[in-house]
């Protein structure tokens, strides 16, 4: 090899955009000589995935640092301008109703902490992948996730000043029973090696189910006068599309690298589809019950975003690699007309111990549900609410007594029914080393049986309460340990948020009315 520096001074061939990007980002790696390569990247073998050529990773976005910073800074400037304006103008008074914020309470308690977790483990990928292309993509996502966590906090910070349920979200996340659903889900992913995490979060969560998980909150915001959250949603969109593209690139990369990877990846898709899908149970009830102004039903959302776009689109493409649609997907499809009703009915009864409030649907709302779920709602669920209406008229709003049994895997209370049998409660049991573990579905049982030594470790909130690890034996003890305050939990009608809302709307109406009266006088 000869170095001929003189030659290039005359006739230079400038780099193309692509070549320039690669020169800036790709050549940075080197083969270590002073430590062993598997010492430098020690976590790449144990999951069984084989990568032969890290350089085959195609960067979906050719972002250099300068363009990334410039673009993101401009987006944040616009977003924070909206947040400031909304706060200054008491924009929260233009929401459809204060009860809408229950959706956002679930969001800050259950989703925002996951963004932080994603920041951490994408940093892990940015450390442990042996190729600079995927490492840089992971690092971008790691700091994007900080952005999402913070813009969510800053978006909801203004509501927190006026409404209940949002004030203690980090401690809620670590302690409150229903939040162990998203927490255990994400910690399941955080405890994985780099490749499974990439499939779990990069592919299953960010790609396969993102439209079911994330979009309903943002659409709900736009339908209910929540301008800041909607703006946040739009602002996060271009990041998300980068993350989705990363997830898709990741799966293709793994499948193309070695044929033996296909079976491992299929197992992860099977696991993480069901794991993520179970988290959407909280979203399903939010869509159908918590939004004063409805966007679409869970069933419609599931059909459009999952059956049509994923099963119909994505998995047809993945068939090329020998990937099949996820195991247990049929069970999820059978459940689409039941899920939200079963979950909300449970949350309704247990909201005395939650960081949000619930209320019985109005007649108009019941009619909407009947229409949206013609095959199931009138048959199975409307009678429950009609009966509850009578209870309420007699002053006896129903709250559950006792504590629900939780699924060992997804940690949702065992409220689901067997596929195709809406009146048969699903109760699955597995035995591991002499102990019995309960799961809520075929999917969760399959996941448990695959890795019992992992799922036996779960910190199940109800077990913990019963063992006396959650502040004490009585409900008030536990609520205090949760850090909940008066007004956070229970029934919405008559709650602190409801009373304030009525009073503030009254003042606003009086303010608007006043000048007219004067003008008329």
């Amino acid at each position: 090899m000869t170095l001929a520096p003189e030659k290039k001074s005359k006739k230079t061939k400038k780099l193309s955009m692509k070549a320039r990007y690669e020169a800036l980002t790709r050549g940075l790696d080197w083969e270590p000589s002073y430590v062993a390569k598997d010492e430098m990247f020690p976590h790449l073998d144990y999951e069984g995935i084989k990568i032969h050529d890290w350089a085959a990773w195609e960067d979906p976005f050719r972002l250099t640092i300068d363009s990334y910073c410039k673009y993101q800074a401009e987006k944040d400037k616009r977003l924070y301008a909206v947040l400031d304006g909304f706060a200054q103008g008491q924009g929260h008074l233009s929401l459809t109703d204060a009860s809408y914020l229950n959706a956002m309470k679930v969001f800050i308690q259950g989703v925002t902490p996951l963004e932080y977790g994603a920041h951490r483990h994408f940093a892990y990928l940015a450390r442990h992948f042996a190729g600079p292309g995927p490492r840089f993509a992971a690092l971008c996502q790691s700091i994007d996730e900080i952005r999402h966590m913070q813009t969510e906090i800053h978006t909801l910070s203004n509501y927190n000043k006026y409404y209940s349920g949002m004030h203690n979200w980090p401690e809620n996340f670590d302690r409150v029973w229903y939040l162990s659903v998203p927490k255990s889900f994400f910690e399941d992913a955080l405890s994985c090696g780099p490749f499974e995490f990439l499939i779990a979060v990069g592919f299953s969560f960010e790609y396969l189910l993102t439209n079911l998980l994330f979009v309903p909150f943002m659409s709900g915001a736009s339908f209910n006068g929540d301008l800041p959250t909607m703006t946040f949603g739009f602002s996060a969109q271009s990041d998300e599309s980068r993350h989705m593209t990363l997830g898709l690139e990741a799966i293709k990369f793994l499948l193309e690298q070695d044929e033996a990877n296909v079976e491992i990846v299929q197992g992860w898709i099977d696991k993480w589809f069901w794991r993520s899908y179970r988290v959407t149970a909280l979203v399903a009830q939010m869509l159908d019950y918590m939004l004063p102004r409805k966007v679409m039903s869970w069933k419609e959302s599931f059909e459009l975003y999952f059956e049509e776009q994923m099963l119909g689109g994505l998995f047809e493409d993945l068939a090329f690699y020998g990937i099949k649609p996820p195991r247990h997907v049929e069970d999820a499809i059978k459940e689409k007309e039941l899920l939200s009703h079963q979950v909300y009915w449970t949350l309704y009864q247990f909201s005395f111990a939650a960081g949000f409030t619930t209320t019985a649907p109005t007649d108009e709302h019941l009619d909407w549900l009947s229409q949206a779920y013609p095959d199931t709602f009138d048959k199975y669920y409307r009678p429950l609410w009609e009966k509850e209406k009578k209870n309420i008229e007699n002053g006896g709003r129903h709250f559950a007594r006792g504590l629900p049994q939780l699924c060992q895997v997804c940690q949702v209370p065992m409220l689901f029914t067997e596929p195709g049998e809406p009146s048969v409660l699903a109760q699955h049991e597995s035995e591991f080393e002499g102990e019995i573990y309960h799961t809520c579905s075929n999917g969760c049982q399959w996941i448990f049986d695959r890795e019992p030594e992992k799922y036996r470790q779960a910190w199940l909130p109800v077990h913990q309460i019963l063992q006396g690890n959650c502040g004490g034996p009585t409900v008030p003890d536990v609520l205090e340990w949760y850090g909940l305050q008066d007004g956070d939990a229970g029934e919405y009608i008559g709650s602190r948020d409801h009373k304030n809302w009525v009073a503030w709307q009254g003042e606003a109406a009086a303010d608007t009315a006043a000048p007219t009266e004067k003008a008329g006088a």
């Binding site: 290039k8 020169a23 270590p32 430590v35 910073c69 932080y116």
Partner: protein, 336 residues
């Protein structure tokens, strides 16, 4: 004269989140605090990591350096994401302006052979060292305890990619718009005797599992190299007609000054910890001192090569030796 808009006045129920109010009282809190304090989960982790079942998913035992309260360390720059990317957008724009001026005026071509040699053989290959910094800081962003630490580490790791790109862009410009000098720089990094101790140091720091110790090692080598290349040689460049070097150098040194702020604040928090401060100070003396000694050994052949290229009167070896004594004294509390 001001005009008064009439708006509905509503008394807030609270002024900030409960976890912020517990520390600072119920008053409006900055976006940095609301976006940082206590946001990391800290208890009831469900599963042990498959890659290290002896620890929790987030665990403060990934480093010997610990804080009783993780949030006694705060980034003095108050960088949450928005101000961070805004500051970096300005930083890279300023560099682009300098580079354009350098290119328009043909300043790189006008450098003497000595200065060209310094850039080609020694400075541009450091893009690989920046890349090592990225790995080291990403490890810290994953395994640190508390969001104030992991956030600062992630941004600093991202900065390292930015630094590598600044050096690469200078290399592309010096190579007449081609990547030839980057290829050449990699060969220097892989083969040159002047760079091997540094590369060895980088590789050993990448595999250091304790993120606190790794930070000290990276920081020690930064102290010596950034001072030598972007302070000392910057002066030399100004005095000896190498404006292109100085115009690039200013951006590296302004980054270094900015980056020091969070690292120095972290050391300060380690020392000031009411319970662990004494232990931390002892370990800073031990591991900080050792890191400086190792870094000095690693950078000495590099500095000696500068003296060869630019002339012995540059005194590069003397400069790093003096600097090392100064940094060492800061760790150990002994006189330099």
């Amino acid at each position: 004269m001001q005009y008064e808009l009439k708006t509905q006045v509503i008394e807030p129920q609270r002024h900030t989140f409960t976890h912020i109010a517990k520390r600072y009282g119920d008053k409006p809190a900055s976006r940095y605090l609301e976006g940082t304090i206590d946001v990391q989960a800290k208890e009831h982790f469900h599963y042990r990591p498959t890659w290290d079942p002896t620890r929790e998913i987030f665990d403060d035992s990934y480093s010997i350096f610990r804080l009783t309260d993780a949030y006694s360390f705060l980034d003095p720059r108050q960088f949450y994401y928005a101000p961070y990317v805004t500051a970096r957008a300005a930083h890279h724009e300023a560099f682009a302006t300098s580079l354009k001026y350098i290119e328009d005026r043909g300043l790189l071509e006008r450098l003497s052979d000595g200065w060209k040699g310094v850039l080609t053989e020694l400075v541009i290959p450091l893009r690989h060292l920046e890349s090592a910094g990225q790995l080291i800081l990403c490890n810290m962003a994953r395994f640190g305890w508390g969001a104030s630490i992991t956030q600062a580490a992630a941004y600093s790791g991202f900065d390292r990619v930015g630094n590598a790109q600044v050096l690469s862009r200078a290399g592309i410009a010096l190579g007449g718009g081609t990547a030839d000098l980057l290829t050449e720089a990699k060969q220097h990094w892989m083969d040159d005797a002047a760079l091997q101790p540094l590369r060895k140091f980088a590789e050993e720091t990448i595999v250091e599992a304790d993120w606190g110790v790794a930070l000290l090692q990276l920081d020690a080598v930064d102290h010596l190299l950034y001072d030598l290349l972007y302070q000392h040689l910057d002066d030399e460049a100004v005095n000896n007609g190498a404006p292109a070097y100085s115009l690039i150098s200013q951006h590296m040194s302004s980054w270094f000054d900015d980056n020091r702020k969070w690292i120095d604040a972290l050391y300060k928090a380690w020392r000031a910890d009411p319970e662990l401060g004494e232990t931390n100070a002892a370990m800073l003396a031990e591991h900080g001192g050792a890191a400086v000694d190792a870094a000095l050994a690693a950078v000495t052949p590099f500095a000696a090569r500068i003296d060869e290229l630019l002339g012995a009167e540059v005194n590069a070896v003397d400069r790093i030796t003096t600097k090392a004594a100064e940094v060492r004294a800061a760790y150990t509390g002994e006189q330099a």
